[in-house]
Structure formats: C-alpha cells, structure tokens
C-alpha cells in the first residue's frame, strides 16, 4: 500500500504544480513571455491568507477569497506597470523585467513580514480523510482538496477557453494579436484578464501549498514556481491539458524519487527527465508544433 500512498501524495503535490503551471502556461500563451514572478505571487497569496487568519481573525473561506482577490489585483498591476510598457520590446528585456519583479516581490515580503519563517495556519485540517480498501489506504483531506481543486480548475478553464466568447477570444489573441484586433478583440484587456486569472490561480496554489507544507517564507514561491514552470514546459507550454499532465507527472516523479531513490537526488532526477523529454519532443508532451501554410 505504500506505493499507492506515494502515488496519492504525488498526485496531490502534482495537482498544486498543475495549478501553478496553468498560470505560467496561460500567460505564456497570450503574452508570449515567461512570467518568472508567478511563483512569488504564490508566496504573496500565502502571506495574505496568513495575515487574514492570524491578524484579522477571518475564517478560512474569507481568507482564501481575500488572497485570491488581492493576488488577482497584484497580477493586473504588475502587468500594467512592468510588462505592458515592454509590449514591443525584445523578449530578453521582458524576461529580465520578470526576474526583477520576482526579486521585488520577495524583498517586499522580506520587508513586511521578515525573513523568519511563519507557520501557516492549518486551514484544511477540518476536511475528513478518505479510507479506502477497508482502511488500509488513507487519503488525507489535504490531498483530496488539492486533487479536487485542481480538477475543478482544469475543467472550468477548459470549458471557458473552449466554449465561451471571451475564452475563444483569448485563444485568438494567443495565436495572432494583429488578427485578433482586426476582429474587434481588445488585446490589452485580454492580456490583463489572463494575468488576473493566472494570479488568482497562484493564490489558490499558495494556500494549498502552504497547507501541505506549512512553512511560509519570502522565498516559499521560488522552488514550486520553477518546478511548475518545468511542468508547464514538460506538458507543452501553452496547453492547458499539458499543464495538468506535466504537473501531475512531475509531482508523482518527485515523490517517487524521494521515496525510492534519494531525497537529495530527486530534483536532479526530475530535471534530468525533463531534459530527456525535451530532447525527444521539443514542444513538450502535448505541445503542438505550429505549421504555417504559405
């Protein structure tokens, strides 16, 4: 049963990666940029939730909502102030700006909350765990929440981009901004919306992550951010199912490495697998190579 337990832990961690990866993938798809500050929005989400519960005394649900709202606004603000002025700039300039924003957010958190780790309140402890196979296998409430939230997010976003007018417009913008404008689609507003969605998801991921690993520091978002970015590339950046697949595979791989090979080597192995996959399939597992007809 330890195999199944590990698998479930992997899926649980992978679900969080997948939610973060979604933000990376959507922003990349639309703005064609790697928003390296995405991981730090997770951390801000964690802190907002922390302050809301510990200092403002709000309940779990209002605190999570507050984190989502503030992170959404933060995402829109960052895009407006840091990225929008660079819309025509070379992608390297945008990338460096994103790294700058990342450090800015980390240092802002350092200034506000200090460098000492904060113990994140246990928001999800009330969720009952699930007993399977006559009690031989226990799925913790947190793991259940992670997996369910991830699946709901994926389903909603897939329906949104596939069925709604605004979602389709978003896909149109991700393919060809000029042509989208010719259709009457407001590209700036669409990009803002994408950052809003991505950052709102980052807040959700922040709460889930901190509930599973309850130590909150200004650098909390960096490593999961990088892993989720890896997951997004692994699955095929720009693809929503790719983010799900990449995130889950990465989570499972990481937990299995920890359990069966070595805790120290797990990151090296995870990234090694990524490199091999990209050598074989440069567009990631579900990424589509685009061919243009002339």
């Amino acid at each position: 049963m330890s195999f199944l337990t590990n698998l479930i832990n992997g899926l649980s961690l992978g679900s969080v990666y997948a939610i973060i990866a979604l933000g990376y993938t959507m922003v990349y798809g639309i703005a064609k940029m790697l928003n390296f500050a995405h991981g730090d929005v997770i951390m801000i989400g964690g802190y907002v939730c922390f302050v809301s519960v510990m200092s403002l005394g709000l309940g779990a649900i209002p605190s999570i909502l507050l984190a989502i709202i503030l992170c959404t606004l933060l995402g829109i603000l960052v895009e407006r102030l840091a990225y929008k002025p660079l819309r025509q700039a070379p992608s390297l300039a945008v990338l460096i700006t994103a790294i700058g924003v990342s450090y800015f957010l980390q240092n802002a958190a350092l200034l506000i909350w200090g460098s000492a780790g904060k113990v994140f309140p246990s928001l999800l402890d009330g969720i009952p765990s699930l007993q399977l196979f006559d009690g031989q296998l226990t799925v913790s409430g947190k793991a259940l929440v992670n997996i369910v939230v991830c699946l709901i997010t994926m389903t909603v976003l897939t329906l949104f981009t596939g069925k709604t007018r605004v979602g389709k417009a978003m896909r149109a913008v991700s393919e060809d901004k000029g042509a989208a404008q010719l259709m009457g689609i407001n590209v700036d507003a669409t990009i803002s919306l994408t950052f809003a969605i991505g950052s709102g998801l980052a807040a959700v991921a922040g709460v889930l992550l901190c509930s599973t690993y309850p130590m909150l520091m200004p650098t909390t978002g960096s490593m999961p951010g990088i892993k989720a970015f890896t997951a997004a590339v692994f699955g095929g950046i720009g693809s929503i199912p790719g983010a799900l697949l990449g995130g889950l595979l990465l989570g499972v791989l990481e937990i299995f490495c920890n359990a069966y090979i070595s805790q120290e080597l797990s990151n090296a192995i995870v990234f090694g697998v990524l490199i091999i996959v990209l050598l074989v399939r440069p567009t990631g597992l579900l990424g589509k190579p685009i061919r243009e007809k002339v």
Partner: protein, 235 residues
C-alpha cells in the same frame, strides 16, 4: 456618390524606414477600388494603417465622415471596416466555425443566419466547419479569411492579395466572389499582385510606387496605359 473612405496625406514609418510618403486617395460608396504596385511599394502598409494596425505620423483616415486617427484598432471593425489581411491570418488552431465566430466578435452572439450566409457563399467551409483551420488548404483558408471578415457585416471590405498562392481556377473563383459581394452592396478596396484581373473588375485604381501614388484612373484607363502595361501587366 458619397465618399466612404478618405485617406489624406498619410506618412507611415517602420523605425527610420519611410514606407508611405504622403499618400492620399478616396473610395466612394459602392465602388471597387484597387491599389496596385510592385512588391514593397507599400500596399499592405496602407491597408494596415487604414485598419489601425499601424499609425500615420501626419494626415488622417476618415471613414463615413468619422476621423479614425484616434480610434484604437480593435474599435475600427465595429465602424464597418473589415480587413482580410495579407497571408490570411486565420486562427490556425481554431475550428472553421470558431474562426467565423471570431469574425462576429463585435456582434456578441453569433447570428445563425450570418453563419448560414457565409456557408452559402463558401459551401466548402460548411463541410469543414468542425475542422481545425490549420489543416485547411490554402484556398480554403482564403475563403475562411473572407468569410470571417463578412461576419462583421462590413460596409467597406479591404482585401490584401486574396489570390496569393492560389491556382488559376481558384483565383477566378475569388474574383467572382468579390464581384458578388460588390453586387450585394459592399464597397471594396482591393490590393492585388494580379493587376490585370484587379483592374478588370475595378471602377478605379491607384498605382503605388515606393510609398507614393504615381498614377490613378479608371480600371479601363489603367489597363490601356502603355506605362502600366509595361510595368505591371507584363508588356
């Protein structure tokens, strides 16, 4: 006839490259007007400036009496001006139907009659409505690009080299469709490499050379002009 589009002394730059040098022309309600010129003369740049993708340093574009210089690109189409851009630029990863829906984006909900209307004009698209646009043939993509533009009910339809890369039979078909659209009341501004065919169906034409309009006249006049024959119609 009323002037529907008036382009007045536009100057367009790509960085330091001065691509359009003081171009002025107009299109009247119900006309087919063609812009012809060699590669790099500035035809696409002119159309892109009218549709708001590019901006002029001077002068302006007036559409149905309204100055468009300050109108953001995404608001232009709702004024009744649609561009079928060079190279089609359909959304390759979206289905035929979704592409057409994007054409009707400004109209909110898609009117099934509009969709049916486009399918009537391009029956091939109806068969393939669920197909991803990237897998259509070049000619089908061109039909899709035109159908997509028609979904917004344009008063003025601008076409940038609609016959590019198509077999002669398809070129003929595209020109027939342009004439049908014109008969149904759409004013047309047509850019073509295929100068002879364009001038045949056009009421008037303008000849663009390195960013300047050098000649203008009716379609027939231009077809007969020895200079034009030599430069654009292959002797």
């Amino acid at each position: 006839m009323d002037t529907i589009l008036k382009v007045d002394d536009i100057n367009v730059f790509y960085g330091s490259i001065h691509a359009i040098k003081g171009v002025s022309f107009e299109v009247k309600q119900g006309e087919i007007v063609t812009l012809i010129g060699a590669n790099g003369a500035g035809k696409s740049t002119t159309l892109n400036t009218i549709s708001g993708l590019l901006h002029s340093k001077t002068g302006g574009v007036t559409f149905m009496g309204e100055d468009l210089s300050k109108t953001p690109c995404h608001k232009v189409v709702s004024k009744g001006l649609a561009l079928v851009p060079e190279g089609r630029r359909v959304f390759l990863q979206m289905t035929v139907q979704e592409n057409l829906e994007m054409g009707a984006y400004i109209r909110g909900k898609v009117n099934p009659d509009d969709l049916e209307h486009v399918f009537q004009r391009f029956p091939r698209l109806k068969e393939r409505r669920k197909q991803i646009a990237g897998t259509l043939s070049g000619g089908e993509q061109q039909m899709l690009a035109m159908g997509r533009a028609l979904m917004s009910h344009p008063k003025l339809l601008m076409l940038d080299e609609p016959s590019m890369g198509l077999a002669p039979i398809l070129v003929e078909q595209i020109f027939d469709i342009i004439q049908e659209l014109h008969k149904d009341g759409t004013t047309i501004l047509l850019v073509e490499q295929n100068a002879r065919a364009a001038l045949h169906i056009a009421d008037r034409g303008y000849v663009l050379e390195t960013g300047k309009i050098v000649t203008t006249g009716t379609g027939a006049e231009l077809l007969d002009s020895p200079a034009i024959k030599k430069a654009y119609l292959g002797g």
